[in-house]
Amino acid sequence: MTTSKRKTSSRKASKQPRWWPKYLLRFMLLGTVVVAVWCVWIDYEIRRDFSALQWALPARIYARPVELYVGAHQNAADFTDYLRRLGYIQTTRVTEPGQFNPAGSRIVLQTRGFAFWDGTEPSIALEVGFDGQRVSLLRAIQGGADVPLVRLEPVEIAQINPGTGEDRLPIGKEEIPQALVNAVIAVEDQRFYSHFGVDPIGIARALVANIRAGEIVQGGSTLTQQLVKNLYLNRERTMRRKIEEALMALALEIHFSKEDILYAYLNEVFLGQDGNRAIHGFALASQHYFGRPLQQLDLDELALLAGLPRGPSFYNPQRNPERATERRNVVLARMAAQGYITAEQLEDARGATLQVSARPTSRGGGYPVFMDMVRSDLARDYNADALRNEGLRIFTTLDVSMQASVEAMLDKSVQAVERPTKGEPAPLEAAVVITDATTGDVRALAGSRQSGYTGFNRALLADRPIGSLIKPAVYLAALESGNFNLSSVLADDPISMKLDNGDLWEPKNYENTTSGDVYFHDALERSLNLATVDLGMKVSVDRVAYMLSRLGHTDRIEPYPSLLLGAVNMTPVEVAQIYQTLASGGFRSPLRAVEAVTTGEGEPLERYGMETDQVADPASVFLLEYAMQGVFERGTAKTAAPRLDNQLPLAGKTGTTNDSRDSWFAGYGDDLVGVVWLGHDDNRETGLTGATGALRVWTDIMTKLDIQPRQSLPPADIQWQSVALRPVRVAGARNCLETRRLPFRVGALPDAAVSCESGGSLMERVFDRFRGW
């Protein structure tokens, strides 16, 4: 029994050595299979992804470009500012695109050219002369001929970034300068063309160099490994990741050419940070740091870029020019050492002064209010993914100089009219909309008194009662009815009206006074509420509501009598649409922020052309405008007239809502329509009327923008006639000693009771003279 037990145990002992190799073998076999599967998977992944490599590209948003021609409204200071926004470099001698040389009222520059959606604008060297606010000379440097028209590059105002925040300008293989390739290989991976993705010699050399230096001065990663790391892996530094990186690099080298790998690397590598935008690829880095395309860079500039991947922030030439220059010289020295450049080229490039572009950093977040409108317009045709990933180019109507002027002016201007408020102090807020009076293009927007404010966008979203801004619609409806003209006599008398719900409505004038009989034009100029209600009830509230919708208001309107005094909410942009239609002589053109969309390669996708629809009779609009010009001359905006001496005549209207909660002014000249709103977000009283608040801000802005006087052509059926200065209703009671000439439409001439044009027997005229004494 004992023997047996011993036997058994000795059998067990003798079995043990045979058990381990068996399982070890199985384990190794299994491990090999797993590694093999992993390798096959990596190989599959690399083949699948790399051959179809596509980067997510942000949508680029461009402002309206400056157009230069003799007579263009542009001054030297604004134009210089525009060139700086484009990243032009100031120099004493213009030799390349993207440079300019200002000399007093003349500027010499070379444009870069730009592929617009409707054609390519070539690069041209120019001399531009200015005479005050106008371009007075436009001449080509080469040949000295006058140039009729030049369109500059558009300022890129924003991007709609992919979730990664990466930005790049993919570049074709044939567009990559050989000197850049040489520089990158010299400094990053000198054995690139001879290794197989992993470079043991390079690793050993780096190890020795690092030990000698006592710090990490060289990396052992090949370009292929760096590409793999950027494309597929995270920054984790583990053995597993290192092995994966090496395997992927090997797979890449097996399946793809060195040229393909290098091309992908040059487009992929991270080369800097600009706000929330990561600069990837050498093409974008070239634009970002030098304001020029890669092909136009000199050897020293290419060497500088090639030195960036080691430390894009550390060697940032804009922030750390000395370090960047040192790094550039290291790259140049390696190039010389490896025979890519001669000693002479080395010396020349080393001696070059670093000149980087001072591109404003506001890009990407500088125009949040306008971008809200752009996004809203684009949302009709493009989903968010397309905007974030497909590299679309979006051409907008924004005028960057005008936007800058509005932003520079607004806070100071609002501060000047602001009054202490009841309760907790709260700043008075503002919104401004500026549009082109002809086309309806939105040229500037402010959604707050603070520039760059990204909160509540009041220009698009502050839905507030418009008060007396509605009155032009009331008066236009009346003129169109044919029953009224500018000398129709209205009753500015107390009104008490029982509404459908049984309430009694007793509107008042702003100053709580009444004026009795007043002329139609006078009632609008002085913004008399009671006369307007008298008129509106005769015309009918439905007709006024219909006129509002024709002028461009799209929301449903309840036709209550209080509508006549502006009891309808609108945003500043909606108000701008209505006044746009008036400024266009009764032609409604929908406000437009986006003009065209193209692919990243410039192929047109969509164009949002100007539209127009005649919604009001031109003669009636002309008559209305007479009274709206009178607002500045005799009415509620006459306090602004002295400051607008060079701009008048202009047309406009003040608006004030109950308890002065909103202060509005909307007005237009020949070229611009402007709407200003002032108020508090919590709807508290501002202590301001339209005239004491918004009008003053509007005047500040419009004088700065040099709004052009109205030059309205009278339609053919307009006649000018004299009427008695004071309105009367009784025939024979009018006094023609004091008259005013007013425009009338043929067929709606002044009533005999007030006309001083044709009537008047000898005795009547004698009595007129007599009454005048």
Partner: protein, 169 residues
Amino acid sequence: MKKNVLLILALGLLTACSGNMGRGIPAPVETRGQVIRAPAPEPVQPPVVGRVIEPIVEREVRPVEIIPPSEPVRPPTPASPVATLMASVDTAVAAGELEQAAALCERALRISPRDGYVWYRLASIRFQQQRYSDADGFARRALGFAGGDRGLVQAIDSLMARIAVAQRQ
């Protein structure tokens, strides 16, 4: 009282000498402290001749066909920015690039918003694109700026007539 009667008679005589006798036009009178407004704002273009902005539909018109406008009515002065753009419009229209041509017209309008000819060309392009509502709007705007240019007015009238026919079909 006697003095007043004499005064009235004297005034009557003075008034009779004012030169407007028998023409039904009141004598010019002075205002006190009020400025009599100028008859009309100074126009920058020739005055509009007597036309009503309505499409002339009663004249006989050919069936609608998508053809370019018969001939340029008033090419602006050569070498001006607008003339340069209009030359590009011609090229674009000839190449069938109508949307590009429309965009060039819009560029020209930003430079010269009161040029009736440019509005007319834009209307013609929209007509060719069968965008009749826009074509009609632009033609009406063109008419407002055509002034005394009879050739342009006739071209616009003709275009409006064709638009009206096309819209009815």
